[in-house]
């Protein structure tokens, strides 16, 4: 299959707080790309600029070849239907149950019957590994891990081509985090998704990412596989990967791969 670029960011600038300067990034169809960087380096801001929530000061962001900040309302809407977003805190609608949350995009954007929508919702909720009993619960009744899964289910409601995940495993126990990493990989393989993950989780980088983009010094410093990234010589990366946590995780995955 030819390599198709789905997101292309060129020469991006964000003047607000001088976050990005001359930032370039290309994301290909069907890959899981992880975005790492210091806290406050502008990872979430970059995501918000791609998904039309925050306007960059200069530069262009192209998704499916369309310059997202130069579209009319109709084009924006059809673009928004082609991606799904999971926010850091889940951002589920607190007045709706899990099932109703997942059904919102379907009710809004399709003409399907209520029965079919309910069935699709039930399938999506099962797909992200939530038990059937979670469907009629309100977000306030769910644990952190379940909220994240429900948020992934809502992001997947319209079968998007790109999924943006903001720190999907943050604050989860290792079992739930591992399950979520596996879920992301499985979804990518079975649904052919392109996934952009913002993460701090070293395990996720090794287990789930195809490539890692490093946001440092206001631009994307490197985009490459995690294995090659650990070999690069950069002060921030050295601290990131060669601290005690980074080494432990790296050794674990190197051993697993040898077996």
């Amino acid at each position: 299959m030819p390599i198709e670029t789905v997101i292309e960011i060129s020469n991006l600038q964000t003047k607000f707080g001088l976050i990005h300067e001359g930032l370039n990034l290309k994301i290909q169809r069907g890959e899981i790309i992880a975005l790492i960087g210091d806290s406050g380096a502008g990872k979430s801001m970059l995501m918000r600029e791609i998904i039309l929530l925050e306007k960059p000061s200069a530069g262009s962001i192209k998704v499916f070849g369309l310059d997202v900040w130069n579209l009319n309302d109709k084009q924006c809407l059809s673009l928004r239907r082609r991606w799904g977003v999971m926010f850091q805190q889940g951002a589920l609608f607190s007045s709706l149950t899990v099932a109703e949350n997942v059904a919102v995009p379907l009710r809004e954007h399709t003409q399907l019957s209520k029965r079919l929508i309910n069935e699709i919702v039930a399938f999506k909720i099962a797909l992200v590994g939530l038990p059937a009993s979670a469907r009629d619960k309100y977000p306030a009744q769910l644990s952190g891990g379940m909220i994240k899964r429900a948020a992934v289910a809502r992001a997947l409601a319209l079968d998007p081509e790109i999924v943006f995940l903001d720190e999907p495993t943050a604050g989860l126990d290792p079992i739930a985090a591992l399950a979520l990493d596996e879920l992301i990989v499985r979804l990518k393989e079975s649904l052919g998704l392109t996934v952009l993950i913002i993460t701090h989780d070293l395990d996720s980088l090794w287990a789930a990412s195809d490539r890692v983009a490093v946001l440092a010094d206001k631009r994307i410093f490197a985009v490459t596989s995690i294995r090659e990234l650990t070999q690069l010589d950069h002060p921030w990366l050295r601290k990131y990967f060669h601290g005690p946590r980074g080494r432990a995780v790296a050794n674990k995955y190197k051993e697993i791969n040898q077996i």
């Binding site: 019957s113 069935e119 399938f123 306030a140």
Partner: protein, 379 residues
């Protein structure tokens, strides 16, 4: 891909075609494409043995795959034999099969009697809770008055400023306009009898005794009572109340007491302010429209309106204040869940506070009548 007029053209709709035993599937089996197909499927007449041929399907997503799976299952259950061939989206079909679950059954709705019972119990529990909250607040208040070092002075002054000083313009304007309206309405009736000077009695007694404290209470309930509920409610949602407890600060002392004290201090002052501005409004109209000069008005005022009337009005204000502060704070603590709950409780807070203020005002009228603190006896 071709787009017709921005939307998906008919060309891309998912379709079925029956020829002999083979059902040829084509088009886009996606969320956008299957809406008409779903309705067609119900009326389709199926042969006994069916072969689904999916080689002409252009695109498929999980919704389309689910619809196919659902149809296949229903047919097999009805005794048909079903074979799938030529489908390229095998991964997707496997995925749908793997996670196929019973579709949601709507939660059983309770019957009417059960609902009435539940609501009655809940209303009763709420009443008990509220009384407990009132009791606790007064214990805290008494303790604070006995040892004033417990009072959070900074929070108290912040509340005095935000609920009192900043409310002056709106209360002044509304009291002024109320005085104007009273003078106009009363004056036009009184002037028919040439009793223009009694405008003073009308405006003075109505405002000082009833309208000024009531008006102030309603505005404060809408402004500050709602704000208290929203503030405490949001703090509950974000666990800030629990955080206060863990660092050894009693939420009642930090959040409730300063608000309660501030409103009890403020309301008589705001009410007196409303008295003055309201009478000013009445005086102005009496002067310009009914020929009662400012001097006459001010001469008549002490004769017409006894001190008792003024004190009755001012005396009610702290009671209204306590109602507003307690209802506002109580509703804040009742918030659970999220943004939705905050909105609900803010509404309840304002409605309940105004309702209780008016009920208590009516009780005061009856009480004063019994005690003989009436209008006529006061002279």
């Amino acid at each position: 891909m071709l787009h017709c007029g921005g939307g998906m053209g008919e060309l891309f709709k998912a379709t079925l075609e029956l020829s002999a035993d083979t059902v040829r599937c084509s088009g886009n089996w996606t969320l956008n494409g299957i809406s008409t197909l779903e309705r067609q499927l119900e009326k389709f007449s199926w042969p006994q043995a069916i072969i689904f041929d999916g080689s002409a399907i252009q695109a498929m997503d999980s919704a389309g795959a689910w619809l196919l799976f659902r149809t296949q299952q229903a047919l097999e259950k009805a005794g048909h034999s079903v074979v799938l061939q030529g489908f390229r989206h095998t991964d997707l079909l496997h995925l749908v099969k793997k996670y196929a679950v019973q579709s949601t059954t709507p939660p059983s709705s309770h019957n009417v009697l059960e609902k009435i019972g539940r609501n009655t119990c809940q209303a009763f529990n709420n009443l008990i809770d509220f009384l407990a909250f009132v009791g606790e607040s007064f214990v805290v208040l008494l303790r604070a008055l006995l040892s004033p070092s417990r009072i959070r002075w900074q929070a108290l002054f912040a509340n005095l400023y935000s609920a009192g000083f900043t409310a002056l313009p709106i209360i002044g304007l509304l009291a002024f306009l109320t005085g104007v309206v009273l003078a106009y309405q009363g004056g036009s009736q009184l002037s028919q009898y040439g009793a223009n000077i009694f405008i003073v009695d009308l405006v003075g007694i109505t405002l000082l005794r009833e309208l000024a404290p009531l008006l102030t209470a309603i505005i404060v309930a809408g402004r500050s009572g709602a704000a208290y509920t929203a503030q405490i409610g949001t703090m509950r949602v974000t666990d800030e109340i629990d955080a206060l407890r863990t660092v050894g600060i009693a939420p009642m002392e930090l959040l409730v007491l300063p608000k309660l004290l501030a409103l009890i201090i403020l309301m008589p002052l705001l009410s007196a302010f409303a008295d003055i501005v309201g009478i000013l409004g009445g005086m102005l109209i009496a002067n310009f429209s009914f020929g009662v000069s400012v001097t006459d008005f001010l001469d008549r005022l002490p004769e017409a309106v006894s001190l008792t009337n003024y004190l009755v009005g001012i005396g009610k204000a702290p009671v209204f204040a306590a109602i507003i502060a307690l209802v506002g704070c109580y509703q804040g603590f009742q918030v659970s869940g999220g943004a939705d709950s905050v909105g609900k409780h803010v509404t309840v807070s304002v409605v309940q506070a105004i309702f209780l203020v008016i009920v208590v005002d009516a009780l005061f009228s009856i009480l004063f009548n019994w005690l003989g603190i009436g209008l006529i006896n006061a002279h």
